[in-house]
């Protein structure tokens, strides 16, 4: 059963539409991530779900129960929704365990103590129960905020850029930890982030938002390999678009050879078969789709190279002037300006109709 449902939600400040006819569903126990550039409306959407913002149209349901409609908003405190704020918003006048137990009003003293102890253990802060919040490191504060939000067993947990105040190394470690904790609690969660690797590490479902609309709500794998819009292809991961022509027999002919591909739907809603279309397309090539092969007759000039430890990321110029990216094991060290042999290693690619150029 869908624990969270957003149906055609619209939200606006004055005349400015912040969220535009957006829908999504999150199943019980699933972790969803909202991803997008700053200003795309993802935090506003989260605040609408939390009940801090009213919506102008559509409906939000939590556990099948409507909580927001145009002109009516169930108060945030009546929603049983937990929220982890970007700056944690810990209560500085309370200790760690008092912070975690804050939302357990109406629980018996024993039940409360047990629940707090359980959460302290879950977030691995058992030895810091009586500390004041200012004595904690950033990562510890983050975990207190998470434990506090989880404590009352909310129907839905919301997190707003939960790792943005932490340094990079801690971020990776914590995002893996948080996924484990959320799965252990079985909580349905919606997380806002602008970092796609964080989203991939955390979430079962990721939604890429663009200008208040949901560009694509999908699994991390599909977002990377089956983007439905140029915007998503561009926003997620690295890659280049290579011009091609759909041939009879459903193949796409490009400068690098013929490819079997799938055509992104014009509105991004459905995947179309290539055969139904004939004409100019752009093929999405990820850096791992182009491999280095000295024996290959296809040559390209090295324009740029970036050393990444195990690999080089080469920016290559094809004879036509088109550029592609290629990820090559780092013992193949070529100089800028050198011609190297390349080959396509993509068995299945995504193509976008050329006339969409104007759209996105």
């Amino acid at each position: 059963m869908a624990e969270l449902e957003l149906c055609n939600v619209t939200q606006a400040y004055a005349d400015q539409r912040v969220i535009d006819d957006l829908s999504l569903e999150l199943q019980q126990g699933d972790i969803g991530c909202l991803l997008g550039p700053s200003g795309c409306g993802k935090t506003t959407l989260l605040r609408c779900v939390a009940g801090f913002e009213a919506i102008a149209g559509g409906e939000i349901r939590i556990g099948a129960k409507p909580v927001s409609r145009a002109g009516w908003t169930l108060a945030a405190h009546a929603r049983q929704v937990g929220m982890v704020f970007q700056d944690y918003a810990l209560f500085t006048h309370l200790s760690v365990s008092e912070n975690i137990g804050f939302g357990l009003h109406g629980w018996s003293r024993d039940a409360r103590r047990q629940r707090v102890a359980q959460l302290l253990e879950l977030v691995d802060l058992g030895n810091l129960a009586d500390r004041q919040t200012h004595q904690l490191s950033g990562g510890q504060q983050q975990r207190v905020a998470l434990a506090r939000a989880l404590a009352p067993r909310p129907k839905l947990l919301l997190m707003d850029e939960p790792f943005s105040n932490l340094d990079v190394a801690l971020r990776e470690q914590l995002s893996a930890e948080v996924r484990t904790i959320l799965k252990a609690e079985g909580s349905t969660s919606l997380i806002v982030t602008h970092d796609q690797y964080e989203a991939f590490a955390l979430a079962d479902w990721v939604g890429v938002m663009h200008a208040g609309r949901m560009a694509q709500w999908d699994t991390p794998y599909n977002l990377y390999h089956r983007p439905r819009l140029r915007f998503v292809a561009d926003f997620i991961g690295q890659g280049t678009l290579l011009p091609g022509q759909v041939q009879t027999g459903c193949l796409i002919r490009t400068e690098l050879g013929d490819l079997d591909g799938m055509l992104a739907g014009p509105d991004g809603s459905a995947d179309g078969a290539t055969c139904a279309f004939s004409g100019e397309v752009d093929v999405l090539l990820r850096p791992d789709d182009v491999v280095h092969d000295d024996a290959s007759p296809m040559r390209a000039e090295v324009l740029h190279k970036a050393f990444r430890g195990a690999e080089f990321l080469y920016t290559l110029k094809l004879p036509s002037g088109q550029q592609v990216l290629s990820l090559v094991p780092s013992h193949h060290n070529h100089a800028v300006g050198e011609q190297i042999g390349i080959q396509l290693a993509a068995d299945h690619v995504v193509a976008f109709r050329r006339e969409q150029n104007a759209v996105v």
Binding site: A75, H77, M83, D87, T92, H93, H134, A151, L158
Partner: protein, 541 residues
């Protein structure tokens, strides 16, 4: 050895040390006064004066403390956390009472609420209501001080609520607490260190206040010091009373330092995420009414009344003598502000050139003077300067055969030293933080581009510090214009300023004739508020 000596005689350290010495002299003088106790006077004080003073001070601190907290916090919460008609305008306007010195509001309030005043006359005449509490009592003093001191609590609490209060309220709401309960359980306790800081500022002003007490004829330590000096001609008794007052101040400062510890550690969230709670029409009107009532009593009424009186007396009082008061006020304030800002700048540079724990301590001690009541500083600086003067006069007679009454006593020196100690912190705030923003890397960057020495000061530091220096100068200028006890007690003979004129007219009960100088002070005090708001808007836009 030589190295240790040169280290010790480092000019920057010596400079900071000298400023600290200036601050500590009045304290030392007050303490030393106990070496010379005049038994008869002291017995009189202990028997008849001290018990009253202690009782009055205690009730005053309690009353003002409670009232200021209640008014300041409730207004701050309304303005920072709720949305109602007029809120945007009020959040700024509620600071206006800072421009009305308590001693000015004092005589306006007395005139309005006295037995023979318009309110009581009307109540008696139209409704037959009598037996209202006498305004010339502790209650009246508490009312007046609350009206002019609540902005301290309001300002600091408003910032606390605005920065972290709303985020905390949302967090509480996400944990199932309705906003009202969230305020009581989260926003209020989290703002406690800030509220305490504002409250302590207000209480220190209460302890230091002289003018209001004089208008109400209400005995506290400040007025007792004045009376001991001018009534009993006992400087030592005045200094001994200063000690008691300093003891109160010490307790306050210690308490403030304790409460500040909380502030240092507390992270303040982003103010931008603020969502104010919209009040229903009825509660919105009530909130507006409450704020307007406070604003009317604290600012509107006094200003209107001063205007009326000034118009009535302008023809008679707007003469050459009045311009003399203005001239004296302005001259003193300009001299004082220049001195104070210069010393503040030197102190800030000392801290920049020789950073370290030592310097931090010296700096803290040097800016402690804002906590010393003016009456204490007046006595504390008059005694040593008079002693120096007598010594110099003796020297003059012995060596030069010149008979003199002293060179220093009749000058502005004592006054300026008093201002320096009292207002150094006022100027140091903007100057110090301005210089701090100009990090040391800026110097290094300039050096690497070949700019050093005077060129560095002129081309980098001066443009960067100009606004801070202006702010510091304006704030100090206004504080000196408003200042009463130091000016009153240590001015050269005949050196009357606007504040002194107000004191003289009010002590004769001539409210109307105190109005014109009072109005001038209010106008001057409005300047920095307008200026500072303008600056804030600039940085925002």
């Amino acid at each position: 050895m030589v190295r240790a000596l040169t280290q010790w005689f480092d000019p920057w350290r010596l400079l900071a040390g000298a400023v600290v010495a200036l601050v500590l002299v009045p304290v030392g003088v007050s303490l030393l006064a106990f070496a010379d106790v005049d038994a008869s006077i002291w017995q009189h004080l202990a028997e008849f004066v001290l018990p009253d003073l202690l009782r009055n001070t205690f009730w005053l601190l309690l009353g003002v403390g409670l009232a200021v907290t209640l008014v300041g916090v409730s207004l701050a919460a309304l303005v920072a956390l709720c949305e109602f008609p007029g809120r945007r305008w009020l959040q700024w306007a509620l600071l206006l009472p800072l421009a009305v010195p308590a001693y000015v509001n004092a005589f306006v309030v007395i005139d309005l609420l006295d037995f023979s005043g318009p309110l009581q006359s009307w109540l008696r005449g139209s409704w037959g209501i009598t037996g209202l509490p006498d305004i010339r009592s502790g209650w009246g003093v508490v009312l007046v001080l609350t009206l002019s001191l609540y902005p301290y609590v309001y300002l600091i609490a408003r910032n606390a609520f605005a920065t972290q209060g709303s985020a905390a309220l949302e967090a509480a709401q996400a944990l199932g607490l309705p906003p009202g309960q969230g305020f009581v359980r989260v926003a209020l306790p989290m703002a406690r260190p800030w509220i305490a800081a504002g409250l302590l500022l207000a209480l220190m002003e209460t302890l230091a206040d002289f003018g209001t007490m004089a208008v109400f004829n209400f005995d506290t330590f400040t007025t007792a010091i004045y009376k001991a000096w001018y009534g009993m001609f006992s400087l030592s008794a005045a200094a001994q009373l200063s000690c008691f007052l300093l003891l109160f101040v010490l307790v306050m400062v210690a308490a403030e330092q304790r409460s500040r510890r909380g502030i240092r550690y507390t992270t303040v969230g982003r103010a931008s995420a603020l969502r104010r709670r919209r009040l229903s029409p009825l509660t919105g009107v009530l909130a507006l009414g409450f704020a307007m009532l406070v604003l009317m009593l604290a600012f509107g009424l006094p200003v209107v009344q001063l205007l009326r009186w000034s118009l009535a007396t302008a023809l008679q009082d707007l003469d050459a003598r009045y311009w003399g008061f203005v001239w004296h006020s302005v001259l003193l304030a300009v001299l004082g502000a220049a001195l104070v800002v210069a010393v503040a700048l030197l102190l800030a540079y000392a801290a920049r050139q020789r950073p370290g724990a030592w310097m931090t301590w010296l700096q803290r001690l040097a800016t402690l003077g804002y906590a010393f009541p003016g009456a204490v500083l007046a006595v504390g600086w008059f005694i040593p300067v008079a002693a120096l003067d007598a010594w110099l006069a003796g020297l003059g007679q012995a060596w030069l055969g010149v008979d003199t009454n002293g060179w220093l006593k009749g000058t502005l020196l004592v006054m300026l030293l008093g201002y320096l100690v009292r207002f150094l912190a006022v100027a140091f705030g903007p100057v110090g933080s301005g210089l701090q923003r100009l990090g040391r890397h800026v110097d290094e960057a300039a050096n690497s581009m070949g700019v050093a020495g005077w060129a560095l000061l002129l081309r980098v530091h001066w443009p960067a510090l100009r606004t801070s220096l202006q702010t510091a100068a304006v704030l100090t200028f206004v504080d000196i214009v408003k200042e009463m006890p130091i000016t009153l007690m240590t001015r050269p003979f005949g050196w009357d300023t606007l504040a002194v004129r107000i004191f003289e007219m009010t002590s004769e009960g001539e409210w109307q004739r105190a109005a014109l100088p009072a109005l001038a002070i209010v106008l001057v005090a409005l300047v920095p508020m307008v200026l500072l708001t303008g600056q804030k808007e600039q940085t925002h836009g």
